[in-house]
Symmetry: C2
Subunit: 272 residues, 2 copies
Amino acid sequence: MPRNDTAGFADTDGPGASPPGPAGPGRGNVLDRGVRLLRAFRPGEEALRLTELSRRTGLPKATVHRLAEQLVGLGLLQRAPVGFGLGIGLFELGELVPVKLRLREAALPFLQDLYEATHETIHLAVRDGLDVVYADRIRGHTGIDTPARVGGRLPLTCTGVGKVLLAWSGQELIDEVLAQPLPRLTAHSVTDPGRLADELARIRRCGVGYDRQEAAPGLSCVASPVLVHGRIVAALSISVPAHQAPPARLAPAVRTASLALSRVLSRAGPRR
Amino acid sequence: MPRNDTAGFADTDGPGASPPGPAGPGRGNVLDRGVRLLRAFRPGEEALRLTELSRRTGLPKATVHRLAEQLVGLGLLQRAPVGFGLGIGLFELGELVPVKLRLREAALPFLQDLYEATHETIHLAVRDGLDVVYADRIRGHTGIDTPARVGGRLPLTCTGVGKVLLAWSGQELIDEVLAQPLPRLTAHSVTDPGRLADELARIRRCGVGYDRQEAAPGLSCVASPVLVHGRIVAALSISVPAHQAPPARLAPAVRTASLALSRVLSRAGPRR
């Protein structure tokens, strides 16, 4: 199982950004350096100059230039008016990853139902190590903006989907999380291990979990697990402004959608 | 501008899959081989055995094994019960590509409106070379299934979004397309250059384009351009079963959404 040693946001450093490949020649070879160059980009950045790429990667400018030209040839970077940007070939490759393709295809109609019923912001998330990774996000004109970007990460313990994913991931992982300092994204993030343990037990009993401004100020959410033959594969959530009616009123909606999606996925046979 | 020399489906071979990087040592180095390994996967494949990876890439098994282990270390592959599958780190990287991040964020509320108003399947697409690449797709329980996968490609001339993208891409590109044999995905695909030229002129006049079972039997669609300061950046479409009422009845809906999205994107200032 992949583990992530980053406790907080890790937008530009994926789970395997730094550790050397077990059989490869460490960080040194051209594949490692190429991936490091791609990971230098942050969300929303259209292009970076060679100087900035060199600074972020710690690679000499001449190396960055040679690598970037090769990545352009491979379709993973593209030339920008100034410098280089990520290329459409990288987007195409990313869309082939099964987490996205399979789960999203099955989940999308249920996410649409939730959006249509509530007009709030809807998330679909999976666990990777000690993080939540957002697989999909639906938002209309009026739904609240959230720190959850598709493909982005947040700590498991600071989000509704994360606590739900953790609650069903087995005692071993829960013990591992509780043994470490709990990350704090806001003043409301749960950082007391005893309180978190109680909350995880309550989530397993009720089938829903809450985030009460624990990931971002002003933002609450209610989340529910997607289970395939008893194994958790994802979580759904509805996010609302914290000053509105409490998200508990939306618990039956998210629970209904997660039960329906769980049923559809279980019918398709055990995954793996 | 990147060009794609594949006339038909090109799911596993992106625009730059084969050509050697201009400055790199051709197909030979470990970065090229690593990308070739990632591109060996096809949509929906959870895992591939070493033997199959070796067959598809033309690389010796020992090389594939060493590369795969390194890609696991980088988070771009993951070990499967048998063989290797694409890793979540690749999904994360792909989501950083601006085509996805910026356009999709702005477009999503308008796609949601179209879905809610029609309950049909909605697409957002961009042009890459002579192909359409699908940036997003919304589908409920009842919407028709389409050959358009997010991150997948279809020829410009066989789809509603593609013809719309082509119609506004300038006479130079139109001439280039018309000078080549036109791809045929179904018996209805337009393969006569004169007929296609007339249709592109009509699309520019009307602001909407149609696909009448030209990409897949039984599937029709109506599409409209997203223009930022007169420059085309994307196209929206609504897909319906061909046996239903003609998609013309949905032309005002898709036109309305594309005009609204164009306005929002133009207000945000010239992109690049």
